[in-house]
């Protein structure tokens, strides 16, 4: 009977997040792939059974994603106001 | 072989639970936030139904009865008694308030899932069957092929008198 253990899924999530996050060109697709990379990191930490570390790192990872998106929206609004967008 | 039958029964029970409660609490009627509206319009452009699209977008953008069912079964499995489901209802309510949602669907789903799991332990279905079953149910709604699932949800919503409200 075939058996897939859990850290293999975390490894595939992290590889998908890294390759996709580096090779996409639009910033919002890169941010979505970074969310997948953070999921892989948290599940790998949870496989080590460091649960408090998983709690704190989930908080920090997603707060960092939200901060990047606030900066992205502000930057695009400034570019729109200067007329440089496309 | 016995576990596969238990997982199938758990998947069917949790699918019925979260779909009925989400439609009854009015998720296909209107998008709560603007991201849900964008996801619904995208599913409609790919050949689906608008009500089902709003349903899928609302599930993505805030923890509704699907998250209530999953976290209640997790709490029941970890605590070993029904009080885990009550704690899950509390956390789901706080998460709903953070995500700009009134929070009726999540807490109702968590409490009804707690009662359902407590009743199902007498016929030999454990809470971990419900965890895997909830994941399979979310996969059938969100992950296989969006137009078919959104048409199914739209048909059920029209039968339960929860149509899309047009302004």
């Amino acid at each position: 009977m075939v058996m897939i253990e859990f850290p293999y899924a975390a490894v595939i999530l992290m590889i998908v997040g890294a390759i996709g996050g580096l090779l996409q060109t639009r910033p919002i697709d890169k941010i979505l792939m970074l969310a997948v990379l953070g999921d892989g990191l948290i599940s790998m930490i949870a496989a080590y059974q460091y649960l408090d570390v998983a709690m704190a790192s989930s908080f920090m990872t997603f707060v960092g994603i939200i901060i990047i998106m606030i900066g992205l929206i502000r930057t695009l609004e400034i570019k729109k106001a200067r007329g440089e967008l496309f | 072989m016995n576990e596969i039958i238990a997982i199938t029964i758990g998947a069917i029970l949790s699918w019925i639970n979260f779909v009925i409660i989400d439609i009854w609490m009015g998720l296909p009627e209107s998008p709560g936030v603007r991201g849900a509206e964008a996801i619904g319009k995208s599913i409609e452009n790919r050949g689906g139904d608008l009500g089902g699209g709003y349903f899928s977008g609302n599930i993505v953008c805030s923890p509704d009865a699907s998250a209530g069912t999953l976290l209640a079964s997790c709490g029941y499995y970890a605590f070993g008694s029904p009080e885990g489901g009550l704690i899950a209802a509390l956390f789901v309510y706080f998460g709903n308030r953070i995500c700009a949602d009134p929070g009726y669907a999540g807490t109702t789903g968590a409490l009804s899932a707690t009662i359902l799991i407590w009743a199902a332990t007498y016929i030999g279905i454990n809470p971990q069957n419900f965890i895997v079953g909830m994941l399979l149910a979310a996969l059938t709604i969100q992950g296989i092929y969006h137009p078919y699932s959104s048409k199914l949800i739209g048909k059920m919503a029209r039968k339960m008198n929860r149509k899309v409200i047009k302004d």
């Binding site: 058996m3 253990e5 992290m14 580096l22 890169k30 990191l41 790998m44 901060i67 990047i68 400034i78 | -």
Partner: protein
């Protein structure tokens, strides 16, 4: 079949090194990274995750939490700097 629960530090260590190398190359030579600085900032998350994986393979949990929190503070400061540069039109 090798069980990953016994060889979990090895998998974590080599995956961390691979992410570090790939991420460093991507920060320098990535597509459109030299035009917009926010894409370079987003690419920088990949080697940070690789460093966190290497630290977790040696059971250095407090070090990993420190580097993640310093990463978040670095985001705040750099995002403010990028917005100021965009406003001053001193970027190009």
């Amino acid at each position: 079949m090798i069980s990953p629960t016994e060889t979990l530090p090895w998998i974590s260590f080599y995956l961390g090194i691979a992410l570090l190398v790939i991420g460093s190359l991507g920060v320098v030579f990535g597509p459109k990274a030299s035009k917009e600085p926010i894409i370079r900032l987003i690419n920088l998350t990949v080697p940070i995750t690789g460093i966190a994986l290497i630290f977790i393979s040696y059971n250095y949990t407090l070090t990993m939490l420190t580097i993640l929190s310093v990463n978040t503070m670095f985001y705040i400061i750099t995002i403010r700097a990028i917005i100021r540069l965009e406003e001053m039109e001193a970027l190009y």
